[in-house]
């Protein structure tokens, strides 16, 4: 039984169908990539999974339970954490306090009595932003803020991490470190679903990939298969000319 199952989900905004009967799954202990051109409905899928968007049709199952109708916070309490494409850090708090709040919320009323402790700094260190601990969160670079959102999720020790474009804003060495961190987190048994544009990163760290186009899942499988899938090439690269397709084979991009 996979950790997360998205089953035949449909989301329409007015007449625009953002997610069109999409189904995919993610396993615990593995990194799942959700890729596709801009506007393919990836973030909307995340919103459906976390409960920020109600689907017109379909179901979401998490850890063997149907959660389609659960409110946002109840899903989080079952072990779901997410980061945002458009940053949602608590701008007027410091980086450290951002993680503290997350820990306080995770602990619930008991947290009121035992304030968040030293492990906050350990978390900041783990994602590599301890140096920013005392900065206000609205004054740090985008890449750092994304890592902060990840640290904030980890404060709740989630079973499933949903990361929305986590590497944008990171430079090459930071991206490499980030990839290693993801592998580590997966090795701890967490499921990770990641929407990502950096193909090199996706192809190296992901165990499974689902490709969304026009709100539909057009391909699913391991990176090696996705790389050569003609349907993916067509949707993703915007043209179908065969020899050209070979010329910019994704293998060239992935190290």
């Amino acid at each position: 039984m996979p950790l997360l199952e998205v089953d035949d989900v449909v989301v329409r905004f007015g007449g625009v169908t953002a997610v069109d009967h999409a189904s995919f799954a993610a396993e615990a202990g593995r990194i799942t990539g959700l890729i596709g051109p801009n506007g393919a409905g990836k973030t909307t899928c995340f919103n459906v999974i976390t409960g920020l968007q109600r689907p017109q049709h379909g179901a979401v199952r998490f850890a063997d339970r149907r959660i389609t109708r659960l409110p946002v916070h109840r899903r989080a309490r079952r072990g779901m954490g997410r980061t945002f494409q458009r940053l949602e850090a608590f701008g007027s708090l410091t980086v450290r306090d951002n993680v503290r709040v997350a820990q306080d919320i995770h602990r619930g009323p008991a947290g009121l009595l035992r304030p968040a402790g030293a492990d906050v700094d350990a978390l900041l260190d783990r994602v590599g932003i301890l140096a920013y601990a005392d900065e206000r969160a609205d004054s740090i670079p985008t890449g750092t803020a994304r890592l902060l959102e990840l640290a904030r999720c980890l404060a709740g020790d989630p079973k499933l991490l949903l990361l929305d474009e986590p590497s944008s804003g990171l430079d090459e060495s930071e991206t490499a470190a980030f990839g290693a961190l993801l592998a580590e987190l997966a090795a701890e048994g967490r499921g990770i679903v990641m929407v990502e544009h950096d193909m090199a990163l996706v192809m190296t760290v992901c165990d499974d990939i689902h490709v969304l186009d026009f709100g539909r899942v057009i391909a699913s499988g391991p990176p090696a298969l996705i790389r050569t899938d003609p349907e993916v090439q067509r949707a993703y690269l915007g043209y179908a000319d065969d020899d050209v397709t070979q010329e910019i084979d994704l293998e060239q991009v992935a190290p």
Binding site: F13, G14, G15, V16, P37, N38, G39, A40, D138, S139, P141, T142, S168, G169, H197, D198, M199, A200, D213, F214, R234, A235, Y236, L237, G238, Y239, A240, V244, I248, L250, Q252, V253
Partner: protein, 235 residues
């Protein structure tokens, strides 16, 4: 050589403390089609926002047809002949097709002329004129958006990620329209992740990385020298 239609000189721009454009230099010659390529997060869309007056540059100069337009509002620029088709669906989803077209007359062309042009280019829009724009397919919505470029006879057309979220065939069709608009003498700056589709119709190409334009030239040259950068963005 005549005055270029668009000249961007040393433009810096930031969101809060985070600098996104770090000294952009870019020229669009009169009557030319320039493709601006680059990976996600390179600052392409921010440049569009700055040129179209939606975001204020922290320093640098922008000349439109030789006129210094730094600090002009988007609506002033639109009336000066700058037609910006922003990223995403750039139509009003809760208005009908005809109402959308009516609003396009704000750029300075009469309503009837706008309707005529749009319907003769895209007969499908005429069939759907009383339908809400948001209920049409993505391709039809982009047709509607492109109608503005066709009907308002702009001096410069700014296209941001025209192909976003569209099927390849439709992208091809749209770029045929872009080629037609270019043939009528309109200068075009198109921002794209899909390198080749855009390069097919362009006279020049520029590559943006990390908030700067790092290469300009003929499409084939740029493609050769910068292929990994561009493809990193496209893929």
């Amino acid at each position: 050589m005549s005055v270029p239609i668009l000249e961007v000189v040393g433009v810096h721009a930031a969101y809060g403390r985070i600098e996104v454009l770090r000294g952009v230099d870019l020229v669009v010659p009169r009557g030319a089609v320039v493709a601006l390529l680059g990976p996600n997060g390179a600052g392409k869309s921010t440049l569009v926002k700055v040129v179209s007056g939606q975001h204020r540059a922290t320093s640098g100069d922008i000349h439109l047809g030789g006129v210094h337009v730094q600090g002009a509002s988007p609506e002033e620029l639109a009336r000066l002949g700058l037609c910006t088709i922003p990223e995403g669906r750039s139509v009003f989803p809760n208005l009908t097709v005809e109402e959308n077209l009516t609003l396009m007359s704000y750029a300075g062309v009469g309503v009837d002329a706008v309707l005529d042009t749009a319907y003769s280019y895209f007969p499908r829009l005429h069939q759907r004129r009383h339908q809400l724009a948001g209920t049409m397919s993505g391709g039809e919505q982009q047709m509607l958006a492109m109608s503005r470029a066709l009907a308002s006879d702009p001096a410069l057309l700014l296209l941001d990620e025209l192909s976003m979220g569209l099927a390849p065939l439709i992208v091809d069709e749209l770029y045929d329209t872009v080629a037609q608009i270019a043939a009528s003498g309109v200068s075009i700056l198109c921002i794209e992740q899909f390198a080749r589709t855009a390069l097919r119709v362009s006279d020049y190409a520029a590559v943006m990385v990390g908030g700067r334009v790092v290469a300009t030239g003929e499409p084939t040259e740029v493609l050769d020298s910068m292929s990994d950068v561009i493809l990193g963005g496209a893929a």
